[in-house]
Symmetry: C2
Subunit: 338 residues, 2 copies
DNA sequence: CTGAAAGCGCTTACAG
DNA sequence: CTGAAAGCGCTTACAG
C-alpha cells in the first residue's frame, strides 16, 4: 500500500508540491493563493486520504510534537495518575508522550535523557533521581525545554513543580495537635530525596515550634524497597514500643498501606483511638482507609502546571523567577471513620 | 548549541559522510573499509559526542523504533502494570513506547490509531474498544504490525494475546465447589466486552456442568463507571438478598475492591464464612484482601507474548495459526485469611 | 499570485 | 577499498 504524499496531491491538482504544503499548512492567504485553488487542493487531499508524514515534518522543522516523560515507575499508581493527566494535557495541545521509567536508577535515568534527546523530543518532564543532576544541567545549557516534577535540585536552576511537602506534613501535624494528640510518631522511608527530607523536617520543626517534645526514637525509617512482611513487622514493633502513643504519621502512602494493613492483619492491639495520617498519592487508596486522614498529593495541579511551564519554554518565553519553583499545596482530606 | 552530524565527523576524519555512516552502522567490514580508518572514525565520533538523529534515520529507513500502546486508561493499575512490562520488553529490543488512553471511547481510539500511524510508529499494541474494529482491520490490510491485548474481535484475523477468562472463572468456581460451596453469586460489570462475556459464561456453564442450580438473580451486573457509593449499596443489598449464600465471585477487581471494602465499611452482617473470589489485576491489591481467593491476571505473560508477536511481524514472519490467538491462563492465588 | 530549489540528517544503491 | 549521488517527505526562503 503506497502512502500518499504531497507530490501525489500536487500532481493531481496540477501544481507544484510546495503550493500544496503552503495550503495545507493554512498559509494560503499569506501566500496569496486563490481561494478556489486552495479549496481544490484541500478537497483533493481529503479525497486521497492524505496525512502528512510526521517524521518528515519533524526532520524539516526540528519539532516532533512529542514529550518525554521520565518517571520512577509507570506501574506505580502515583506516576500512572500523573501520566494520565499529562497525556490529557499534552493531547490538548497536540503532543504525544513517550514514557520511561528510571526505577530510581541514576544510570538508567541519564541514559533515558540521551535516548529521548536523540529522538528529538521537544521537551522533557522528569521526576529526577539525584544522579541525574549533571545530565539535566546539560539540557538546561542546550535550552532544551524541561520541567522537573515532584523532586528538584536546590542548586539547579531548572523549572520545577512540586508538592509543598513541608506544608503538607505541617498541616497534618497541626491537625493532630488541634485534636489534642501530642505524642506523635513518624514513619518514613530511607530515601535520600528532597521531598522525604522536607517531610521529616516538617514533622520535627512543626512540633518544636509548638513546644511539643520530639524524640528520635519516635521516628521509624524503613529501607527503600522494604519487603512488605518486613515493613509490617518493623512498623508493628515500632508502634508497640512507644507507650501512650496517640497518633502516627506515615510519610508515604506506600508505607501507609502496608502499615495499616499490617495492623489489621496481625490484629495487634493498638489504641483504638490512635490517629493515623498518611501522605497519599491517589484516590483509589482512600477507599481502603476509613478513619484516617490523608495528606492528598496535588497530582493534577502538578501535572497541569508542568505542562504549562513546558509550553512557555516552547514559546521561548523567559520564565519569571517565581515560575521556576512552583509549590502546590497538598490538601488534608479527613475520611469518615467506620 | 550546534548538534554534531555525520558531516562534521566526515570532515574531521577526511572522508565522505557515507563512509562515516557505514562505519557507525557496523558495516565497515562489509564495505571493506580498513580497520584503521574505521577505528579512527569511531574515535572521532565518540570524541565529538556524536549521536545519530533518530528523526533523520527514521525518515530514511522508515523505521522509528517506537511502539504505540493504546490502552483504556494509563492511570488504571492494570494497564499501568502492563505498560511497565511492555516498556521493559520494548527497551530490551531498542524500542521506546508512546502511550495513549482510549477511555473506552471508540472515536478517541480510532483517532489514536491514525495519529500514531502518521507518526510512523513501527507497531501497535492495543486493548481495543468495540468500535475500533474497522480501523484495526485497515491496519491489518496495510500489514502494519499490530497485536491486540486483553480483548479481541472474534471475526477479525488479528494477532491477540488474552487472559483465558473462561478458564480463570471456571477454576474459581470449581475451587469453590471443591470447598463445598454450592450457592455462589456472581458480581460483574455491564460492559459489552468479550472478556466480561466470557467470565459470565464460565460462571453459568461451569455450574451447569456440575449440575449445580444457577439463578439469574444470583448475578449482579453493575453499570460501568458506577460510583463507589452506589456500587457499595448495590452489592450490599444484593448479598443480603440471597439467603444461604455461601460464596461470591467478583468478575473484576475494581468491583472487588468496592465490594469487599463496602462489606467491611458498612459492617453488614454476612456469613463470616462467605467465600470470596475476585478476578484480580495486580499485586498491590492482594495486600488488602486476606481471606479471599484471587484469580490472578497473567499480565506479565500477556505483555511479553504481545511484544514477541510484534517482533515476529517486524521480521515479516508469517504468524502460525496457533499464534494468532494466544490465551494465557490466570492463576488461582489463595490468600491466607486472618 | 506561483514555481524551482535547497536542505533537514541520514542510508544505500551505484559507480569507480 | 572509497566517493558522489539520490532520495526519504516535507517546509521555507527566494526568485520570478
Amino acid at each position: 500500500v503506497k502512502t500518499i504524499t504531497i507530490r501525489d496531491i500536487a500532481k493531481r491538482a496540477g501544481v507544484v508540491p510546495s503550493t500544496v504544503s503552503v495550503v495545507l499548512n493554512g498559509k494560503a492567504k499569506e501566500m496569496r493563493i486563490s481561494d478556489r485553488l486552495a479549496n481544490q487542493i484541500r478537497v483533493i487531499a481529503e479525497e486521497m486520504g492524505y496525512y502528512p508524514n510526521q517524521t518528515a515534518v519533524s526532520l524539516r522543522t526540528g519539532k516532533t510534537k512529542m514529550l518525554g516523560l521520565i518517571i520512577e515507575d509507570i506501574s506505580n499508581i502515583f506516576f500512572a495518575s500523573l501520566a494520565k493527566i499529562i497525556e490529557d494535557e499534552a493531547d490538548s495541545i497536540g503532543y504525544k508522550v513517550v514514557y520511561c521509567s528510571t526505577e530510581n536508577n541514576d544510570d538508567k535515568g541519564c541514559e533515558l535523557i540521551k535516548m529521548l534527546s536523540l529522538r528529538q523530543i521537544d521537551g522533557l518532564l522528569i521526576t529526577p533521581t539525584n544522579g541525574m543532576t549533571l545530565e539535566i544541567s546539560k539540557l538546561l545549557e542546550k535550552k532544551k525545554p524541561v520541567v522537573l516534577m515532584d523532586r528538584y535540585f536546590p542548586y539547579l536552576n531548572a523549572p520545577c513543580v512540586l508538592s509543598d511537602n513541608f506544608t503538607g506534613i505541617k498541616d497534618g501535624v497541626e491537625h493532630l495537635l488541634h485534636k489534642g494528640h501530642n505524642k506523635i510518631a513518624f514513619v518514613t522511608v530511607d530515601l535520600d530525596q528532597i521531598q522525604m527530607h522536607e517531610r521529616e523536617r516538617a514533622y520535627f520543626e512543626t512540633l518544636q515550634s509548638h513546644n511539643i517534645e520530639t524524640k528520635n526514637n519516635w521516628t521509624l525509617k524503613l529501607p527503600y524497597k522494604c519487603k512488605p512482611a518486613e515493613a509490617i513487622h518493623k512498623i508493628t514493633s515500632f508502634i508497640s514500643s512507644i507507650s501512650g502513643l496517640q497518633a502516627i504519621i506515615f510519610a508515604t502512602n506506600y508505607l501507609g498501606i502496608y502499615g495499616l494493613d499490617s495492623i489489621r492483619q496481625l490484629g495487634i492491639s493498638i489504641p483504638s483511638d490512635l490517629a493515623v495520617i498518611c501522605f497519599d498519592d491517589h484516590d483509589i487508596f482512600r477507599l481502603h482507609t476509613p478513619g484516617i486522614t490523608i495528606i492528598e498529593q496535588p497530582i493534577k495541579e502538578i501535572a497541569m502546571n508542568s505542562i504549562q511551564l513546558l509550553m512557555k519554554q516552547f514559546e521561548n518565553k523567559e520564565l519569571a523567577v517565581n515560575e521556576l519553583q512552583v509549590f502546590k499545596k497538598p490538601k488534608l482530606v479527613i475520611r469518615a471513620s467506620t
